[in-house]
Symmetry: C2
Subunit: 163 residues, 2 copies
């Protein structure tokens, strides 16, 4: 069985990354991104200049991706933000966990002092469970801040942990 490797994303990963992130944007259930975003714009968003983007692969197959960036500039630049996505065909294989563990180490090595998730959709229970397992606290609840395509208005959570 092949081991998981997490490495910096490069331009040659665009197609693999798009295959993961575009369906998740299209579903419109977890990210505050226009579901109709083009593939080009989706990649431009995920690999924007202010982000450092990684991919998780098993063998030759890219099955997850995440980015890390400063959540704010100036007096807020010691806190980072991440976005994670796992291929819909690869859930339950520990990819999100491995990426979160990796991200916490990368964040520390970059000198960040805390990590914040700005908008965790309240009915995304598997994500909330995972972030709590990794030491994140719910520090904010945004009432009815997300319009879920199936469930309608749901709260969004702000989650935070020191590093």
């Amino acid at each position: 069985m092949n081991r998981m490797e997490i490495r910096h994303a490069t331009n040659t990963d665009h197609a693999s990354i798009a295959k993961i992130i575009v369906p998740i944007f299209r579903a419109g259930e977890t990210y505050t991104i226009e579901p109709e975003i083009s593939e080009t714009d989706a990649i431009a968003y995920w690999m924007a200049p202010d982000k450092t983007t990684f991919v998780a692969q098993i063998g030759e197959e890219v099955l997850g991706t995440y980015y890390i960036k400063a959540n704010q500039a100036g007096g807020g630049s010691h806190v980072c933000n991440c976005g994670y996505m796992t291929s819909e065909v690869a859930t339950g294989r520990g990819i999100a966990s491995a990426m979160c563990r990796h991200a916490l180490n990368v964040a520390r090595s970059l000198g960040f002092e805390a990590m914040q998730f700005n908008f965790v959709v309240g009915n995304n229970l598997s994500a909330i469970r995972l972030w709590k397992k990794f030491g994140f606290d719910v520090v904010g609840k945004l009432p009815a801040a997300f319009k879920h395509p199936a469930e309608g208005y749901v709260d969004a959570l702000v989650m935070y942990r020191a590093l």
Copy 2:
């Protein structure tokens, strides 16, 4: 005495707006913006394409400015975000209050259903008092998320109200 007027900002307002916002960015006490930001970049930020920017003037003098924008895209696009700044020489004249009242009406007319302030620096007591007066609740507290130039680490608040 001249009445206050609040109107859409235009390109001819750049110098007046810069005179208000650049010193506040330089101080680095209330916005998570690089204090050394150039005047050009400050204007580009404050009048970015995704923002609608207003100025408050008394007679010919622009004494305040604010922007309104969608806080998120996709399923979060019914919540708006604003940034407000009052000229340092004009505090205590009701300019921030007038802009907030104006913004709440603009937000409703644009179809937004809630307004969120993502990062209110915890020692900015006059701002917190004002937003509470206008019906905003503290829905989140980001521990030590701001490094204040004089006071060091302080919490930041997330404030929110339905419209």
